[in-house]
Amino acid sequence: MNPEQVVEEAVKFGLKLGADEVTASMTRERRKMLRFSNNSIIVMQSWDHTVPAVYLTSKRKRAAARVGDPNLDALMDVMKTLKATMDISKPGEVESKLPKGPFKYEAVPHNYDSKIPEMTGELTGIAEEAINSALSEGAKRSSGTLVTNEWERYVKTSTGSEGKDRGTSIELSTRAFFDDDASGMGVSCATRLGDFDPTRAAREAAKIACQAKNPVFGDEGKFAVVFGPSIMAEFLSRVADFASAYYVDVGLSFLKDKVDQKVASEKFTLADGARMPTGINSCSFDDEGYPTRNTKIIDHGVLKTYLHSSYSVAKYGGELTGNSFFAGGTWGLTPIPLNVVVEPGELRFDELVEEVKNGLYLTNNWYTRFQNYQTGDFSSICRDGAFRIENGRIGQPLKGLRISDNMPRILQSITSLSRERQWIKWWEVETPTYLPHIAVEGVGITRATK
């Protein structure tokens, strides 16, 4: 049975079971991943998955299931259990309605490249090129991950929506080492091979690694910081998550009750670029069958909207944003950002560094953890190249630094953004993020003392 038939039969079966509304989706992913470390391939992996998912409503009750089995019989079996479970559960707070279709879906341009799914042997060549580029820049060893993906998605709802969509992507994240204390990271990700530049990513990683050699321990205190795109992508993809009505609902967002309020510097504009032509997660419709759109989340410092599902609109008001997907830590329909996009500033990177004059340039981070999601108090560890900015130039490499600050304060303290932007997506940044270098004043830095 083909995917269109499976989602159609699932919707019919859900209604037959007595659900008021049903949405069914089916996603097939064909993914390859080549991982390398110490200049050598460690494994090449391949996945071929077809995953149906369903969501049922009955008055104020809701239920969802994800079934890692492409057969309709398996899906129907789970749906029976789901409906029986829903029948004996208590009703929720509000009754939500799936959007009424049909809708006209416009394909996102440039998000499919038929050459990408065919690549297998070519992946080895790309990895070799990345490794050799890093070594030729002076790095001693190179590690990384090269991923290709082709996806097809089918959605049908009992409220008249029906669509199919597809996309491809290719991603390289690579880390170069000059020695144990001197490393750098570079990323290239694209929906088409023509936009993919593994050599640039590898050279960038190696350049940072070589520049970072012989680091000294940095000082504690408050500093003006130029954040590289990788580190800011890790912060801002979280901010976009916090704009999901789901995180607001469960009390894990400092953006709660802040719509129409100033939450960031007026120089800062953050959007969900769900229809960006080069966005890896761009697509035409969400899993409720509602058309996607580009949504400004923070516009010149003011929080404009949360990202919504039909349930969160019923609960909080506002408009559907086309962000409701079977995704994330829950298996239900959850509003999630697809591609995080930050508006650029006007300065070149070197001008940004010059403007900061004395401070820090931090290229990457990992392990951000919050003490309190509602206040935004957090810390995060610097990783890869970190440098002093001295008299407007990048200077002494540093190590052992931790950012210990408050996320709302950081957003309010953005002073400048560069005009060049790049896509970041890697192990620590799951949501593709398109952003510039960003300067922030008064950033708290701490370090181990024993």
């Binding site: 200049n39 460690i42 071929d48 239920a63 299931a65 479970t85 181990a448």
Partner: protein, 474 residues
């Protein structure tokens, strides 16, 4: 299902590979959630699929599918084979696997009350009881945001390889996750994300007494919020409870002693280690410190008896009396370092490669009571629980921020303090431990590693421990 696994291995073997294995999972799970007393969607997951891993001329290929037809299976074997062959050109050092006994076994985590026998009504009843116990008149503070998630899952696995290993295993787990935000009009908010989890049946959850457990947490949070004073920022003695000891052992002992990190395999993702292969015997702490990782603890969250490479699980002593004693090994790192695997290869789903993971990591007990640890500290802080923590990707520079914490004055636990911060190196931490308690407790957690990411169920724990002369600050 065993036939499918055997067929995959035989298909691979016919291609003349150096080694092949197949692993089939049948997984199911459910989650029931109350957010502020309101039921969230009931969630069910069902998943089954097969993974094939093939070694050809020192190159590794891995492929998976959830289409279990014979043709799909053969195609998956072919893809894994071609992937390995395509990689050969860029292999600096051929991958080898350590020699291991070809095990034949059938194992299961025992349950007195099997999860499939527990009704939906019973699961909601537990959540509603917790919710009832979080009302302000009971916990003496407002808890305006409450998310309670009760989850269970069952995973059944069939494994076979070209060396003759044949293993079937089955584990059920139950877990409770709660996110509490406590509010006071004059003091703001304080948050806690708590998790409890064990393998076995419903009887495990019953013994936690979830309504009491969560309401006790809320009441303590209220006390910290309303009575907590500013934490000191200076050098003093520190006693940490088993929850903090556990995260310390997990982050700065378990992770840096994963041999794949030490050899650089995870460099681009989870990072490397401050330890090198030749550092067995390196003194990292005082003689009071002994840390183990043990998958075989019955009913533990990280329980297993055979790993995902078919190797029998065993207790591993990672730090012995302050000295690095051994690393967590799989067959690949074992071969490279000239030792056997100690059964640390885990895969959280059929579509994930087996990789080195912790199971249940803990500090072994000493001889002190908690009172004895405290009474010998003239001025200090006791950190019982934490919320924020992190560590660098070489597992050397770490930070733990206390949640439930108190001053120690003249050998007694006194007033609550807010957010005391310990920021310290790994040798600095283990080198400051002068006394170890005798009561071991465990906490459940989900450990992240790997690409694609694998969240593995683990326990970490230990007794309360005392650290002499460490600086609190941040």
């Amino acid at each position: 299902m065993e036939d499918l696994v055997r067929h995959a291995v035989e298909s691979a073997s016919a291609k003349g590979v150096d080694y092949a294995e197949a692993r089939l999972h049948i997984d199911s799970g459910s989650a029931f959630t109350l957010t502020n007393g309101i039921p969230e969607p009931v969630q069910l997951a069902r998943e089954r699929g097969i993974a094939v891993r093939i070694l050809v001329d020192g190159a590794m290929g891995f492929a998976t599918t959830n289409d279990l037809s014979k043709s799909s299976l053969e195609s998956t074997v072919e893809i894994a084979y071609r992937s390995a062959k395509a990689s050969r050109k860029l292999i600096a050092k051929p991958i080898r696997l350590s020699e291991q006994k070809a095990e034949q076994a059938n194992w299961e985590a025992k349950a007195r009350k099997p999860l499939p026998d527990v009704t939906t009504e019973e699961k909601f009843r537990v959540l509603e009881e917790i919710e009832k116990n979080l009302q302000p008149e009971i916990v003496k503070v407002a808890v305006p945001s409450r998310t309670l998630i009760l989850g269970d899952d069952i995973t059944e696995r069939y494994f076979a390889n070209t060396e003759g290993a044949r293993i079937h295993g089955k584990v059920a787990r139950v877990n409770l996750l709660y996110v509490l935000t406590v509010y006071d009009p004059g003091k703001g908010t304080i948050q806690r994300i708590g998790q409890h989890g064990q393998s076995g049946g419903w009887e495990q959850l019953e013994q936690w007494d979830p309504p009491r457990l969560v309401s006790d947490e809320a009441e303590i949070l209220g006390k910290m919020l309303t009575e907590g004073k500013q934490a000191p920022r200076k050098e003093l003695d520190l006693v940490v409870g088993s929850e903090v000891t556990g995260i310390v052992c997990h982050e700065s002992c378990g992770h840096p002693q994963e041999a794949d990190r030490i050899l650089g395999r995870e460099a681009a993702q989870a990072g490397e280690s401050y330890l090198k292969p030749d550092m067995i015997g390196y003194r990292v702490g005082t003689e009071a410190v002994t840390v183990a990782d043990d998958p075989t603890i019955p009913n533990s969250n990280g329980f297993y008896l055979y790993d995902e490479e078919g190797v029998k699980a065993e207790r591993r002593i990672l730090i012995k009396e302050g000295v690095i004693n051994g690393f967590l090994q799989n067959r690949e790192t074992g071969a490279e370092l000239g030792v056997s695997s100690n059964g640390a290869a885990r895969a959280v789903a059929y579509d994930r490669e087996p990789m080195i993971r912790m199971a249940n990591t803990f500090m072994l007990p000493g001889s002190y009571t908690h009172e004895e640890l405290v009474e010998d500290a003239k001025e200090g802080v006791f950190i019982k629980t934490f919320m924020e923590w992190n560590i660098d990707d070489r597992r050397y520079n770490q930070r733990y921020v206390g949640l439930e914490a108190y001053m120690i004055e003249n050998g007694e636990v006194t007033t609550p303090v807010r957010n005391p911060i310990l920021e310290i190196t790994t040798p600095g931490l283990y080198g400051s431990v002068d006394a170890v308690g005798k009561e071991v407790e465990f906490e459940a957690a989900t450990c992240g590693k790997g690409e694609p990411s694998q969240g593995a169920p683990v326990w970490h724990g230990g007794p309360s421990i005392r650290l002499r002369k460490v600086r609190l600050g941040g």
